[in-house]
Amino acid sequence: MNMQIFQALLDGVLMGGVYALAALGLSLIFGVMKITNFAHGAMMTVGMYTVYVVSTGLGISPYISLIFAAVTLFVLGYVIQHFLIDKISQAPTHNQLLLTLGIAYILENGLLAVFTPNYKTLEVDDFEGSIKLGQITLSPEKLVAFAVVFVVTAVIYLMLYRTRTGKAIRACSQNREGAQLMGIVIKKTNAIAFGIGALCTGIAGALLTPILSIYPTLGETFQLKCFVIAILGGMGNLWGALISGLIVGVVESVTGYVAGGSWSDLTVYAAFILILLVKPSGLFGRSNRREH
């Protein structure tokens, strides 16, 4: 195989991992609350700025400030669900969507007010140069990002499948009233699930900070990407989100190599529409249907 295609493929997998983590969060939130979080991209940007501020302020590695971003976003997500979205949980779904959209604008404009629209770039000195394997060059930032995604995803899965709280989250996503009848407090479970979803996108943002220049509306592109990935994976289907994230990363990167960067997004969204036409429930459409 042409080595450069192979290079593009690898880059795509590494970036796709980061997308996958953010989309996993979106899909989890949908699976439990049945709402699409339009503040997902803005929350990712909050994660980016948290890393930027903590790293430049304390002079520490972004991979340590990542922990701050994770905690901040968990709390932010918990609070948003508990104090805002929950209050209108009886309202029609589109009102809940508008609420998350409103939150997105508040977060973005807050960032604009504090940090100005100027690009910010974090100088990272954790690594020197890049890793070369024959003709393949790998960016250490992307490799570390992929490793962190792997660990975070594994921890979330263990949490969902092995702990009482995690099982309660899955129970709520599969049958909310069934969960209530077993004494599960929906309000608390929802807030935790939203917190975890926000944490996913926050960590994804944190991992992108050493790779990209950041600005307050950067999250918007990722919002759309997460949305596409989560739908491809079947909304609420976590494995589907992970695999679709990798696929989108690879398609984007390989198209960029073959046809040039401006074709990447076009190809991803065209493929997305085509797939939906053929399979309206997404590639892995067996999402969490809720039984009534």
Partner: protein, 234 residues
């Protein structure tokens, strides 16, 4: 044990349950019967607080529980096997049972209760690892009842447990309910299978359009002319 006084329950502006009073004593099996759409489910959902009560009171062991949240009702020991079962379809049989023991109160005896469930429904043990969504209706009903036993009920509410089951499976289910009652658990059961449930129950309430129209000993109700009139003359 459970006392309902002058209860009103509805959906939006429509009132379904009107001025309804009933009680369940400790250790009793009480049947709630009535045709389709009379409000049996509306009533039992209100007891579990899945429906909001718009008037009247519900007391349990002398305590007013009318305004408690669903999880608090479960903590008190009122557990419901709902219409349609409401299982966690993609979770295994074992996980569904474990979710029954979610409350602090139920966690204490989780192991013993699991063994008890497997002794009542030995079939469940063999399919422990299967996802509930793949089971037959009868098997799912066993999981639903098993899950409620894991929650350590003092009062167990069963909303049409025989719906969609074959006559043999229904008998099996009623047998299990009798066994559970012998453990000292009070039971409120709604049914379409009127004669079968009246054989099992101590007392019965007959409901029509959101009101109790007949109540008394199950044996007497099953023979009464009024029951026939209500059922045939609707």
């Amino acid at each position: 044990m459970l006392q309902i006084k002058n209860l009103f329950v509805g959906y939006g502006k429509v009132t379904i349950i009107q001025d309804l009073s009933m009680k369940i004593d400790s250790g009793e099996v009480v049947a709630l019967i009535g045709a389709n759409g009379t409000g049996k489910t509306t009533l039992v959902r209100a007891i579990s607080k899945l429906n909001t009560v718009s008037g009247g009171t519900i007391t349990f062991d002398g305590e007013n529980i009318t305004d408690l949240s669903p999880d608090k009702i479960v903590e008190k020991g009122i557990i419901q096997v709902p219409e349609g079962r409401k299982l966690f379809a993609q979770m295994s049989v074992r996980e569904n049972l474990e979710m029954g023991a979610f409350t602090k109160r139920a966690r204490v005896n989780e192991k013993e209760n699991l063994e008890y469930v497997y002794s009542v429904f030995p079939e469940l043990k063999a399919m422990e690892k299967q996802a509930c969504g793949n089971l037959s209706g009868g098997q799912q009903q066993m999981v639903a009842i098993g899950r409620s036993i894991m929650a350590e009920p003092k009062l167990l509410i069963l909303d049409e447990p025989s719906i969609g089951l074959s006559p043999i499976t229904t008998q099996h289910m009623f047998e299990a309910i009798r066994t559970i009652n012998k453990k000292g658990i009070s039971i409120l059961i709604t049914e379409q299978n009127v004669q079968d449930v009246l054989k099992m129950a101590n007392r019965a309430y007959v409901m029509q359009q959101g009101k109790i129209v007949l109540s008394g000993k199950a044996q007497e109700i099953s023979k009464s002319e009024e029951l026939k009139k209500i059922y045939l003359g609707m």
